[in-house]
Amino acid sequence: MVEFAGSTGLVLNEPLLFDKGKRGRAGMSIPRRDVDYAPVDEELVGEGPDFPDLGEVEVVRHYTRLSTWNFGVDTGMYPLGSCTMKYNPKSNEKQAALPGFAGAHPLLPEKLSQGALKMMFELERFLGEITGMDAVSLQPAAGAQGELAGMLIFHAYHKSKGRGRSKIIVPDTAHGTNPASAALCGFSPVKVGSSDRGVLSVEGVAAAMDEETAGIMVTNPNTLGFFEENIRGIAEIVHARGGLVYADGANMNAVLGIAHMGDTGIDVLHLNLHKTFSTPHGGGGPGAGPLCVKKHLEPFLPIPRIVDDKGSLRLSGDFPRSIGKLHAFYGNVGIMIRAYSYILSLGPELKKVSQLAVLNANYVKEKLKDVLHLAYDRPCMHECVFSDKLQAPLGISTLDMVKRLIDYGFHPPTIYFPLVVSGALMIEPTETECKEELDLFVEAFRQIVKEAGESQELLHGAPWRTKMRRLDETGAARNPRLTCK
């Protein structure tokens, strides 16, 4: 008998912070007052916000209890497709917390901040080497801001050629941030479909590309888990008509040290440090979305840029063709430190990361494809996409299956995305899961498929073992309650 991680145990309730506390309690040591009270302008002074006063123990217990209701990568396997929920090394956290980094003011004179500048300068070069692109900006605070920066560069590039363009080609498998980022620059997205191999065809792009189109946004590998094998042909077509090629690097974990993205014909690429380079997702950020470009687009990168001035590094805003600034300072430096530490810890062995990520995904695909419908039955990269086609006739949906998976002790895969696969179930195990864990995951899914045939109620009602059962999202949206009263 296989033993799964999912179990039940004592789960503690915990009220809202605003229903706790008592005036007069304190949870923080207030620094000593060594100056007198100064007069204040009574016109401007307010009452201060209505926050509860809590004791230190109350605060510690509150958040400790809340944390136990969460599932993280440290809790168990988190095979969320296109999100790359790999293990987040603890040593990286320690480096980011070094007082020299954590306590550094961003407007320190450059001569007093050479260490951070050096880290950033080198990280730019590491990412350039890994992607095969010529120049890098670390400034975008997340993938979507990297995309925005890329689209701003498209906009600025076409403007510099004397003529703005109004459209952008976005494949139907794209993440929603792609069209949303393009729209911010005034581009209206034109959708192109994928072939029956789950990739873009040169002909499909050629039909959509014209002189009004700024270029194309391609996620590569794409969200179906395939390398866009026609990318060079696509890039030729787009370039021939004056456009540019943007690559969304959300899925770079599949091709580190293997693909040379700079040779695929692309002009711009963004990375997600919180996916590929192991920085924690934090329950929704902060992340970082560095932007990599080919030489001809370097003048457009965000400012300030780090320049080497006779052995000493400084920040320079002297790039007149730059798209400007995206962040109050230089981006999420704390995240950069973690990614830098990760890259140093692996070095050229990063290639092994991708090899094992792809090995794991193909292994899960092979082990489940006889019980789950495979959207495209061909070798995948770092993730594989199944659907609920075989279970739907039983009245069982993708949602039912993944909610049941929670009872077994696994986080659900990405579901109902990409939109082109009805009832999609997108599994990305990542390289940090060992074979035993994958075998348990496969076994859990096989049991769920069996349950789907035998006892639908078990799935419709799942999860059963969590603190909360399925929640009423319709009620939440119809009558929004967004703060404590």
């Binding site: 040591s29 070094l98 701003l152 990318i231 092994k352």
Partner: protein
Amino acid sequence: MRYLPHTEEDVAEMLRVIGASSLEELFSTIPEDCRRKGDLSLPGPVTEWELNDLMAVLAKTMAVAPEYKVFLGAGSYHHFIPATVSYLLGRSEFSTSYTPYQPEISQGTLQAIFEYQTFIARLLGMDVANASLYDGASALAEALLMAARVSGFKKVALSSLIHPQYRLVVRTYLEPAGFEIVELPLTSCGRTELTGLKTIEGLAAVAVQSPNFAGCMEDLGSVASLAHDAGALLVASFTEPLAFGLYKSPGALGADICCGEGQSFGIPQSYGGPGLGMFASCKRYLRSMPGRLVGRTEDRDGKSGFVLTLATREQHIRREKATSNICTNSGLCAVTSAMYMASLGGSGLRELARLNYDKSEYLKKELRKAGFAIPFSVPTFNEFVVELPPGSDAVYQRLLDRKLVAGLPLASFYSGMENRYLLCVTETKTKNDMDELVNLLRADCNI
């Protein structure tokens, strides 16, 4: 490599299941001309212990407390962070989880964000707050885009006393979309000059920062009535939320959208990021808001819980018609700031805010006494501008050699401010630190 658990036997067995002869074969779908020739040219791999040494060397070059006395603010503030906050946010159930799309196993993050939204709404005096944006600068840009959606206009007025780097970010976000940006000049007393507002037509928003970049409190109430008379929304930006422990909140003074940087609340400065974009608005504009929202609801058994809600505004559903392109935001920083606000409590927040104010007033008074000019007369919070005698740059450099950063030189941000410096005093500076600063300045300037 310790993050990669596969043994050689594992790999062989898995390849056999897949039907591939080698790891290389798994990549056969990548065309030859898209492949890398040769290995990655990167340093490493280094051991954990080597990494510790390498990073310690880099970190040691940075000028930080306690070795340095840094009187810098300007959008990044040095505040004490209690051990509890650092400890609690290190709970990896918070840090290693994804956006809470599966609410049954994300109630910890969801409740913490719901409480954060409540803290922010109360702090800023607004109806609703979102689950965070990247930082104060992009939050301002998003606020202006939102004001344009609400009003139907594409022209905004920005105070030139908004953080200069925020204004640059606003330009980056708005100009390609065809916005017109009008900058409002500053008055001689340190506030935004509003007289020009009356002549501008078709305005989506008037944006001011309070406390502003010179540290001065704006007269938000007056800005609100002028903005509303012009049919525009008042967007109130801020870089130091601790000020609202002492001063009236922007919401109480009529702001329609309130946005700013939350780094002050328990988040390390980290050379400028990650920060926390706080964002709040009125209920009537709820559906035009950017970013995620957590709402309260019930589960099947009628138990109270939380979910992400009103997601149809967001990019993953509305795509090019979304209210913003934001996906990953600053979730963990939002939770950190909530831990900090919970630790401080209402009484602690008021006390700490007052202490910042009083210390900064002490330094202001001592500088005046020593003969230095304080050019702006408007009340400030924990930052203010001082004017040093001509040739102050050399003085500033000499103080750096004494491990003292005497504020931010304003010359590169505003014309006519050649000898002006923006000084910041938080609770981390003692009376002795301030006395030392005044004494060194006095001695060096021969006053």
